[in-house]
């Protein structure tokens, strides 16, 4: 590992983070929230100062795959550590571990909260809390790639993008990685702004519209009211949010295809079709299941069902209805779509629809081969062959996914909470959803967990957001050996 380059990039990340805190400061000054302003000023100065020092480290330009992973994993941890400062300095959340949990939950777009009462917290802090979703949704490294002029190397920035982008394989939509990052961010930004505008037109207060748009765009789910989106009684607003959540769960390269008028390719995208298929199917099944709870108001049942499915599947975690009180079938079904998650290349979390598709296709091919050994079958996606390396990567991911989930559940179980709470708390943090079942349901929160559990759950969130490997990689001792020989970076292969 090249320590210098890692330090340099972490410095960059902190500089960006400090700049991102500034709007919250203005809001605080505008509203006269003195305590919060002081906290933000200190946080910004501290983050900026350390960031500046680190970013001045002299280093070479080449980022190996290893460095990319470490920058990504460490960067996210450091970012959360400093991002927690405004909460801590302002004493809104007294204990640092809770601040960290809240910030990690923000950056990883999870939306699980330890706050028992949201109302009453200063607007500037609430703004920062929701804005972490927006930053985390597309990723701070992708942002860096989009704005910072990368040194001319041999395609190494790709190593950064790959480490942070969700999905089984990263597809470039433009030949240059910086262009790809830029286009993605422009689409992201435009969608977010359009959502704010729509919400304001529908009559939502401007501040609410802004923070809700951030939380939706990042598929995060921090709300600024204790009863989440149910606070806005307007059906129109609720449905607007539901639709936008679903939109942010779509692979952004599909939007690029649409923008460049490749409509056919966009609609033939298998993941895109399955994503909507699963969402519509789940809405109908759950809707039917909960009809008895809405006597004489079937429409409301399906509206709530759609909102909840959209919120859970895109791993946002907003709520209009307390799905914890729904029949067992619906609760179980929601737990399943929590794990399925959104599309690759979106801001959502979870296992990703494309991975699930790959796994099922692989299974089909393997079974066909067992009966018919001479027959040659290949896994194809969007009409193209899936490279073996992608397939192996996906199976490895699935294995790691299961192991981490099981181990985390074991540790959280030490707290002695009931099984439903234990299992769903891990599932909903690991898949970056937010609310789980029972104690951590829509009305509950995570404040009752022990520090150990909070730590484990925080790491689960990071593992889920960064798709496991960068963080796991950091744990392997080989990575921490200093590079003595200047090895040429491995060429990364573009696929799917």
């Amino acid at each position: 590992m090249n320590y210098r380059i890692v330090a340099k990039y972490i410095g960059f990340i902190m500089l960006v983070e400090a700049v991102f805190m500034v709007p919250a400061l203005f809001i605080g000054m505008f509203r006269g929230e003195d305590g919060a302003v002081t906290a933000l000023v200190f946080s910004i100065l501290l983050t900026f100062a350390i960031g500046l020092v680190l970013s001045r480290v002299r280093s070479g330009n080449s980022i190996s795959m290893e460095d990319g992973f470490v920058i990504c994993a460490l960067g996210w941890i450091v970012m959360s550590l400093f991002g927690a400062l405004p909460f801590w300095f302002s004493r809104e959340i007294p204990r640092y571990i809770d601040c960290w949990f809240e910030t990690v939950s923000g950056f990883t777009t999870t939306g699980s909260s330890i706050l028992t009462a949201i109302e009453g917290i200063p607007y500037s802090i609430l703004y920062w809390r929701s804005f972490t979703h927006w930053i985390g949704g597309m990723g701070v490294l992708v942002f860096l790639l989009a704005i910072v002029r990368m040194p001319k190397g041999n395609g190494e920035p790709f190593n950064l993008m790959r480490a942070e982008s969700p999905g089984p394989a990263v597809g470039k939509i433009a030949p240059k990685i910086s262009e790809t990052a830029k286009i993605t961010y422009i689409i992201y930004f435009a969608l977010t702004v359009s959502m704010m505008v729509v919400l304001v037109i529908e009559g939502m207060p401007v501040f609410d519209a802004v923070v809700n748009a951030f939380a939706t765009a990042g598929t995060g789910g921090f709300a600024i009211w204790n009863n989440s989106i149910a606070h806005y009684e307007s059906q129109v607003m609720q449905m607007t949010i539901a639709v936008y959540m679903a939109l942010f769960g779509v692979n952004f390269s599909v939007y690029y295809l649409l923008l460049t008028k490749h409509f056919r390719d966009a609609f033939l995208n298998e993941e895109f079709r399955w994503y909507w298929g699963i969402m519509i199917g789940a809405t109908i099944l759950i809707g039917i299941n909960i009809i008895p709870m809405y006597p004489g108001n079937t429409g409301q049942a399906f509206r709530d069902s759609f909102f909840t499915v959209s919120s859970i599947m895109t791993t946002t975690g907003f709520g209009t209805a307390d799905f914890d009180k729904w029949p067992e079938f619906s609760r179980y079904f929601l737990l399943i779509i929590m794990m399925i998650g959104a599309s690759a290349g979106s801001t959502g979390g979870g296992m990703k629809v494309s991975r699930l598709l790959l796994i099922f296709k692989h299974l089909k091919v393997q079974m066909a081969n067992m009966i018919h050994p001479r027959r040659v079958c290949i896994v194809r996606m969007d009409g193209r062959r899936v490279e073996d390396s992608v397939m192996f990567g996906t199976t490895a991911y699935m294995a790691a996914y299961m192991i981490i989930m099981i181990v985390s559940m074991m540790i959280v179980a030490l707290d002695g909470k009931d099984l439903e709470t234990t299992i769903s708390s891990v599932i909903c943090t690991f898949n970056n959803i937010g609310p789980g079942l029972h104690m951590v349901g829509t009305t509950g929160n995570f404040s009752a967990f022990s520090d150990l559990s909070k730590l484990v759950l925080s790491f689960d969130m990071l593992l889920g957001r960064l798709e496991i490997f960068p963080l796991l990689f950091m744990l392997s001792p080989g990575v921490w050996k200093r590079n003595t020989v200047n090895t040429a970076p491995k060429k990364t292969k573009k696929s799917v």
């Binding site: 001479r374 027959r375 040659v376 079958c377 290949i378 194809r380 009409g383 193209r384 062959r385």
Partner: protein, 479 residues
Amino acid sequence: MYICLFPAREVPENQRFKENRMKIVIVGNGKIGHLLVEQLAKEGHDIVVIDTTYEKLHYTQEKLDVAIVVGNGASVDVLKEAGTEDCDLLLAVTNSDEVNLLTALLGRKIGAKNTVARVRNRDYDREMNLLNTSFGLSFSINPEKTAAREIFRLLQFPSFLTRSSFAGGRAELVELMAQEGGILEGKRLDQLPAILNKKALICTIERDNEVIVPSGSFVIQAEDKMSFSSATADLPFLLRKLNIKTQNIKNVLIIGGSTTAFYLANYLKRVGIGVTIMEMDKDRCEKLCELLPEADIICADGSKQSILNEEGISKVDAVIPLTGYDEVNIMISLYAKSIGVKKTVTKVNRLEYLSLVDTTELDAIVSPKSLTANEIVRYVRAVSQSRDGSVETLSTINNGRAEALGFTVPETGFFLNVPLRDLKLKKAVLIASIVRNEQVIIPDGNTCLMRGDSIIVIADPRRMISNLTDIFLDNGGNA
């Protein structure tokens, strides 16, 4: 009762074909190149052969009355040495597509009047129209695709159907009899475009031993013998519309995953025939699997009978061996026939093998090499005749009482770009189909003739038509 008639016969090259000697440069003296040299030399053209190896060229020169140039055909110096600057035709048939394309491009630039290149790669084949225009090719040949098209043709239709193919197998004339109570009985001809979706045209009708080129008011009766013109690709549609059962082949086993197999599988999948391809090479299997999602690919040695049995050779309707070995292909077909497979089409390149086996047992034989050579020879004949619009091909239909003439529309003429309804054709003369940019057009009153079109004209033999201008009434234009 639709079976008809007498096979179309190729009329010997009589005085109606003009003697037209051309200067031809052939680049590449491989299998196909050699066959071409042989054929074209026989037809009396002046030929220069270019190849990189002297030995084979020398042999060719000794055997045939041709000139040779040793060197790289894609080099301008070599091309000039061979006299490409004033040649009528440059044929680039080396085994490399890229060299052929480059040769054709350069040849065209330095003055060859017509260029033909052999392009067989699937990746280029898809963009052939673009390549043809950008490389200035008059024509391109793809032996594998030609073979596949021929196999498909053989597989698809009952052998009793009388058919004549034109324009390299793209357009067809089919002779059928109107059935009693059939869809066509009692219909006026001008109602037909609606029934047949403008995909076919009735050219001649034979009734009471008289052959007529009918007009729109003609009413079809049962037992009329009709000849239709249609695109080859639309033939299945036509037969289905007329309720004629084709040989019922639902699934096909192809042995050997060659390029021909790929093209054939594509043709078959378009008409909904199930394809299984057996190929030994694992990598090739995966490639095929990628290219042909609908086909079943089996990685096994198809020359082994036990494997053929295990993979269900007895369950398929047709077996098509396309391996690189003629002997193996013949043996597989014989075995398939012996266990009762309905149909086999065997690829055999060295036709001399066929004298050793009882060919009646092999349903149909396809020789890609000679198919391709024939295609080129046909084209060369066309070029040598088409410069002034004289007749290129001639075959008779309705037992010699009508003839189908092939023309290429020349560069100039009063008939260019004029809707057909404004052109006065002679009586009992009909334009049956037009092939333009590989597309078959069934003409109606709005269609125009454009230069470079291949057209098929149906005419009364007594008219003795030998030039395209002969089909028009004298007052038809101001030429």
